[in-house]
């Protein structure tokens, strides 16, 4: 897909229409848009399959996010398919790698909609990617194309003009940053600086921090940025120096695990020893692994970490959906299919990201089941809105409606204890 060209686009568009199982002499006559007719008649549903489409980061510095999210979702789908699928139709997942880059994500989405003709988009990763894909959904609105549960808490898919084309399950970055700010202010840490990715994701988190601080009459104490795709091997010393000059009480990071781990490492090395918070998107286990694998006294660094999460701890299997997740991850241990598999990536047995993927998939399975025996895109939104006070087994009732397109709001805060993430119960005791 990386070598996508205009010629290839035209070829796939035309060939996709010609290759459609419903394209024939009868359907061609009397139609002004045969490709559109072919798409409308297939819609990603056959007698034995419902085909979903994903574009996510399966390569590059943020590949851990796409891989883990997929693994969690696939654990759920594998179980559903083993049990006969949804009303006789197995769930298929067409995957493309965008490397967490906007342009490939747009090209992949066009492939998914025009050539693969998927039923819905599911499991996208990242704000800069999703933000660029949203206008495509508006373009295809007459064909009722929806995006389900992207792995991003940004606002563009939660508000006009594109909010009506996406359904979110996780809490938003605005809620995550507001929660972090509230807790820091609550323990007297008022000078809050922001370290963020120089793109739409970083800006979304930055805006959340700004808004939350503004509500308390405070401002962002200082800010530093990094370029998307930065790796742990790179230096973040200049960013630490910039933030160090404003003497912050805490730093909120809005980034991916490679850059945020590098920032934590360099901050502690340069003496900036203040709580360093990360959002759920960071990929907590990937971040911690980078630290523990590269420094001898990892606790000296990880003791300053506090990460917000949008799902509960994967260790707490007393929560029904977490218990089910743990069992299915052990049973199936899903792998990313070839050729997207990364031979040098060792997946985590369990992680917050894969748990989120699992929860997303569970919710989608419920929605697809509610479509009945003849699922169509046209009835998809209506099916979503039948989810009211639904108990997914996560300890929070889930509802969707015309005005409510985000299923969950609850946040969880975690810190590192003996190289594992554990719930943070007392902010004052830890960082006061």
């Amino acid at each position: 897909m990386n070598a996508f060209t205009r010629r290839k686009f035209l070829q796939t568009t035309l060939l996709g229409g010609l290759a459609s199982p419903c394209f024939g002499l009868g359907s061609a006559f009397g139609q002004t848009n045969t490709a559109g007719a072919a798409r409308a008649s297939y819609e990603g549903v056959s007698d034995d399959e419902i085909l979903l489409g994903t574009s996510a980061a399966f390569s590059g510095p943020s590949r851990g996010l796409g891989i883990e999210l997929y693994r969690g979702a696939q654990a759920c789908f594998t179980q559903v398919n083993e049990r006969g699928g949804i009303r006789g139709r197995r769930i298929g997942l067409k995957l493309y790698d965008d490397g967490y880059q906007p342009v490939p994500s747009v090209q992949n989405t066009m492939e998914l909609l025009l050539r693969d003709q998927v039923f819905a988009l599911f499991g996208y990763v990242g704000t800069p990617t999703v933000t660029r894909v949203l206008p495509i959904l508006k373009k295809f609105q007459e064909e009722n194309v929806y995006m389900f549960f992207p792995f991003t808490g940004a606002q563009p898919q939660r508000e006009p003009p594109y909010g009506e084309f996406a359904f979110n399950l996780r809490a938003s970055y605005r809620e995550e940053t507001a929660g972090l700010v509230e807790n820091f202010l609550g323990i007297g840490r008022r000078r809050i600086a922001v370290f963020y990715q120089a793109d739409a994701y970083g800006r979304s988190g930055w805006a959340g921090v700004r808004e939350a601080l503004g509500a308390h009459g405070e401002q962002i104490a200082g800010e530093a940025t990094y370029t998307r795709g930065a790796q742990y091997s790179g230096s973040m010393r200049r960013q630490v120096e910039i933030l160090g000059r404003v003497e912050p009480d805490a730093v909120i990071c809005i980034g991916a695990y490679g850059a945020c781990a590098a920032f934590l490492r360099d901050a502690v090395d340069l003496g900036l020893e203040v709580p360093i918070a990360n959002l759920s998107f960071v990929g907590s286990e990937n971040l911690l692994q980078l630290i523990t694998d590269s420094v001898e006294d990892s606790e000296r660094y990880s003791r300053w970490l506090v990460n917000s999460q949008v799902v509960p701890s994967y260790e707490d299997e007393s929560i029904p959906v977490v218990g089910e997740y743990g069992e299915l991850m052990r049973r199936y241990d899903p792998e990313v299919p070839q050729p997207l598999r990364q031979p040098d990536y060792v997946p985590f047995e369990k992680s917050f990201v894969s748990l989120e993927g699992f929860v997303n998939a569970r919710m989608l399975v419920e929605i697809l089941d509610r479509l009945g025996d003849a699922p169509t895109r046209a009835r998809l939104e209506e099916a979503v809105f039948t989810i009211r006070d639904f108990d997914l087994g996560i300890g929070e009732r889930i509802s969707f409606s015309e005005q409510r397109r985000q299923g969950m709001q609850r946040l969880y805060y975690t810190v590192v204890d003996r190289d594992r993430f554990v719930p943070l119960d007392d902010w004052q005791a830890r960082f006061g």
């Binding site: 906007p102 800069p128 660029r132 606002q155 563009p156 739409a200 979304s204 990094y226 200049r238």
Partner: protein, 254 residues
């Protein structure tokens, strides 16, 4: 003999070198001035257009939407060649979105955020930039600023001048080779004439008759050869009568 011919053409060759040098320097200077002026104007004009486009598109985002949409918008324009940075400030001078890494430079933090005039900037540890601005909603919603990297213009000039110098050098080389060949061609009859004159002098001393194809030529060399023979015989009256039978009238045809 060859040395005499080379000496004969040394000055014309030097003149050709000088002429090409003057052409190369003058055209390069004109090229630099033209490319610099036109590219600078074009880049500034394009940047103003882009700034205006972003300003127009920003109004709805700033008033109604999340700032991540604004960031996504300016990130797309950053892919245009020559655009090095973009930042948007609100009416209070607060930065709403920008593309700086690892942070907003102190020079820009200290500048007037509402200024829309062209400004030359030399940022610490970075290249030189020309910055243009465009107001959002007549300035009441903020200002868009775009910084163009001047090194791109310098590179373009270097490329244009380099291509021109390559062309002039090629023409110069071909011209020199052609000049040498043509001069050698022109020098050949003179060489032959000189050889004939020497042979004529030698034959005069030894009392022999000299025959040469030069005497048959219908050009200046032939006329000079016949003139040499005429003078040779005129200087020796004993041979004049014999010579009268074979020497043509000087200046006449063969």
């Amino acid at each position: 003999m060859n040395m005499n011919v080379q000496k004969l053409f040394r000055r014309p060759l030097f003149g050709i070198f000088l002429l090409f040098g003057i052409i190369a320097v003058s055209t390069s200077w004109v090229c630099i001035a033209t490319v610099d002026s036109q590219l600078s104007e074009e880049y500034e004009s394009n940047s103003r257009g882009i700034a205006q486009t972003i300003a127009d598109a920003s109004v709805d985002i700033i008033l109604n939407r999340d700032l991540s949409a604004l960031q996504s918008l300016i990130d797309q324009f950053l892919e245009i060649q020559g655009i090095s940075y973009i930042y948007i400030v609100n009416e209070d001078g607060e930065f709403l979105a920008h593309t700086f890494v690892p942070g907003i430079p102190a020079e820009i933090l200290a500048s007037d955020p509402s200024n829309t005039e062209s400004v030359e900037r030399q940022l610490a540890g970075a290249d030189s930039y020309v910055e243009v601005g465009s107001p959002i909603l007549a300035g009441v919603a903020g200002t868009v600023h775009i910084g163009m990297d001047k090194s791109v213009i310098t590179l373009k000039i270097q490329q244009a001048v380099g291509r021109q110098m390559y062309l002039i050098s090629s023409i110069f080389l071909v011209g020199i080779i052609a000049a040498v060949l043509l001069m050698n061609l022109a020098a050949k009859p003179v060489e032959n004439l000189l050889a004939y004159a020497v042979e004529l002098a030698r034959a005069e001393q030894e009392g022999e008759a000299v025959r040469s194809a030069l005497l048959e030529r219908d050009d200046e060399a032939g006329q000079l050869a016949r003139l040499f023979l005429y003078f040779s015989k005129a200087a020796d009256p004993g041979k004049a009568a014999e010579g009268d039978r074979q020497a043509p009238v000087p200046g006449g045809g063969a």
